[in-house]
């Protein structure tokens, strides 16, 4: 059960822009266990998507992986040649991208696009067999009238259907790991519920490991087993989902939970916003990157980066409140 499927060690990703070097990811460590649903939460620009793109070596330029190691099923992904990494993408690691609207090529039938990974990885003999598999695949992701729909072009489908096609593409080769990068942004709540339900279903059926990248704390609470909270390119807290929500340790996690309006809360309970804004990662604040916005800031926070410590079993936090100085 506790077998590791993915381990990231000391990952650093910098973006070399005109404006300067954006230190998007600064030393991220995490490990994902086989069969679990792992959540990666954080606000815009915290580096959660980039971290996951590093796993399949698809950091968009001008970004570059500066240092660190990524092990997927024991394989050192970053030192693999491109041809070997390509064998992982789509085959072993399925990626569900953010924008279903632009994730599909308008010139090809959606069925072909969903089945393309099968062809690329040689899992089907010919196109004819691929189409047969695609119809089954569309059934799996619960697209009504799968045969007819697979012959449609992207513009003929609604947003929710397109997202299902994208999911079908990601699971076509029955990967060991699915990375879903904000699978439900720009999607209505009712469709979101359907998509999340589908993902839960797939996990139940195939036992696939799922990494869910999102900014929505509600989705995390509903879906994930373990959660990592990211802030400004670093992981600040990592814990079991129940522990994290019941007893958040890092001031940022606490702040987030108090800042988000919850439907079951009375409107009399006032939200507590986190003051200030997300720092510029070209010149990130020294020490703990959260210190300029933190209400419990101490001298050391401004100077030294807090180490990740295990405060309770399986509950890690990077904050000087809990670390030994």
């Amino acid at each position: 059960m506790n077998e590791e499927i993915l381990r990231i060690e000391g990952l650093k990703v910098y973006f070399y822009t005109y404006a300067g070097v954006v230190k998007a990811i600064e030393g991220v460590n995490l490990s994902v266990r086989k069969g679990e649903c792992f959540g990666l939460v954080g606000e815009t620009g915290c580096g959660k998507s980039v971290t996951m793109r590093s796993v399949i070596k698809l950091v968009p330029p001008p970004g570059r992986i500066v240092s660190g190691k990524i092990y997927f099923e024991g394989l050192d992904v970053l030192s693999l040649p491109e041809s070997e990494v390509r064998k992982l993408r789509g085959r072993k690691i399925g990626f569900i991208v953010q924008e279903p609207m632009s994730a599909l090529d308008p010139l090809y039938k959606v069925g072909y696009q969903a089945g393309e990974p099968l062809l690329v990885h040689g899992l089907v003999k010919d196109v004819k067999e691929m189409w047969k598999r695609v119809v089954n695949l569309f059934k799996t992701v619960m697209i009504p009238e799968p045969k007819e729909r697979s012959r449609n072009y992207p513009h003929e489908l609604s947003g929710g259907m397109k997202q299902r096609v994208v999911i079908a593409t990601a699971i076509s080769c029955v990967p060991d790991l699915i990375i879903a990068d904000e699978p439900t942004t720009n999607v209505d709540v009712t469709i979101q519920a359907q998509i999340l339900d589908l993902l839960r279903d797939l996990r139940r059926k195939y036992g696939t490991t799922l990494i869910l990248v999102t900014h929505n704390l509600g989705i995390v609470a509903e879906m994930c087993d373990r959660v990592a909270v990211m802030y400004a390119g670093q992981i600040v807290e990592l814990a079991n989902v129940y522990d994290l929500f019941k007893d958040p340790l890092h001031p940022y996690t606490k702040g987030l939970l108090e800042a988000v309006p919850i439907i079951t809360k009375s409107r009399e309970v006032r939200l507590k916003p986190i003051p200030g804004t997300i720092p510029n990662l070209i010149r990130p604040p020294p020490g703990c990157r959260f210190h300029p916005r933190c209400s419990l800031v101490a001298e050391i926070c401004k100077r030294e980066r807090p180490p990740m410590v295990e405060v309770k079993p399986e509950h890690y936090v990077a904050c000087w409140l809990y670390a030994k100085r």
Binding site: T17, Y18, A19, G20, I282
Partner: protein, 328 residues
């Protein structure tokens, strides 16, 4: 007295700091690209030649005469632009820097004067065509609907003809000459601007600040003048800069076909046209003025390219960090 001056300066500085910063960035953006600097230098030279061409020519003539009379140079160059002479079709030499044409006139002198004609020409065309384009483009783009339909279809009709053919037809029917060439070019040129402005307006109109202005109670006219026009100006400037070369070249084409400026008015395109009969042996006749035309067009194009970067706010933002990074 001084104190109040200083106060006023401080106040002015406070108010305009962001603006100054913006201009500094523009300047910096421009300066860092050698091609646009080269382009602007070329443009400046050509504009000076265009405006002061005859006087500059007189000056050179005077200087050469002075040098000759003091025995510093042995032969005095001839800058005879209009009179017939016996030095027919001479290759470039010290006497005739760019050679002579079939009437024995000096091509250097004629080219210098020709730039003026070309420049005036293109400016007149643009000064008339651009306002037509702005007004019709703003109306069509902002109001949309039937008005847009009418204006756009008319512009389409004009654009459907090949520009040169249409210009030739108009110019020929009005009789060959500089004036009719200008009228022909204006007729051909305004639709391009209507289309450019209309397209820009359509995209600017989508911005919420337009709707916000409407919600505040601003009238259509003030919205157009205060919010739409300023936001379509920079693409217009870029387009115009590149377009000057286009007008000059089309004008040269007309002259080249014998429809524009008539002899003996020197005009670059016309000179190229006249020299065509003598190619390739008497290459200088056509090629040297042709090369000047090329430089003229190139200069404006490079400048336009540079301006595109300078006027693009996103590009400036990227630079902003660079500049500030250097400061720290």
């Amino acid at each position: 007295m001084f104190k109040s001056l200083k106060e006023r300066y401080e106040k002015w500085k406070f108010k305009n700091a962001a603006k100054i910063e913006e201009y500094r960035l523009m300047f910096y953006a421009f300066k860092r690209s050698p091609l646009s600097v080269a382009g602007s230098i070329m443009v400046i030279i050509f504009v000076i030649l265009g405006v002061f061409g005859p006087w500059i020519l007189d000056g050179i003539r005077g200087l050469m005469g002075f040098l000759y009379s003091h025995g510093i140079i042995r032969t005095e160059p001839s800058f005879n632009a209009f009179d017939w002479s016996l030095d027919v079709l001479q290759p470039p030499s010290w006497k005739h820097w760019f050679g002579t044409d079939d009437y024995g006139r000096d091509i250097f002198a004629r080219s210098m004067l020709g730039i003026q004609v070309s420049l005036v020409y293109s400016l007149v065309v643009l000064v008339v065509a651009i306002p037509i384009g702005i007004i019709l483009g703003l109306i069509a783009g902002y109001y949309g609907g039937k008005v847009d339909e009418v204006i756009s279809r008319i512009t389409d009709m004009f654009l459907a003809f090949p520009a040169l053919v249409l210009a030739m037809a108009i110019s020929a029917s009005l009789g060959a000459g500089l004036m009719s060439a200008i009228i022909a070019l204006i007729t051909v040129w305004w639709p391009g601007y209507v289309r450019l402005i209309r397209g820009q307006v359509l995209s600017v109109k989508e911005n919420l600040y337009i709707e916000a202005a409407r919600a505040v109670g601003m009238g259509n006219f003030s919205i157009i003048v205060k919010h739409i026009l300023p936001n379509v100006i920079s693409p217009l400037i870029i387009y115009t800069t590149m377009d000057i070369a286009g007008v000059v070249l089309t004008g040269a084409n007309l002259s080249f076909l014998g429809l524009g400026a008539q002899p003996p008015t020197p005009e670059l395109g016309r000179i190229v046209f006249d020299g065509l009969d003598y190619l390739p042996e008497k290459w200088w006749y056509s090629l040297i003025p042709g090369f000047m035309l090329f430089l003229f067009a190139l200069g404006f194009n490079l400048l336009g390219d540079g301006l595109r970067d300078v006027l693009d706010p996103r590009f400036r933002r990227r630079l902003e960090f660079e500049v500030k990074g250097e400061k720290e």
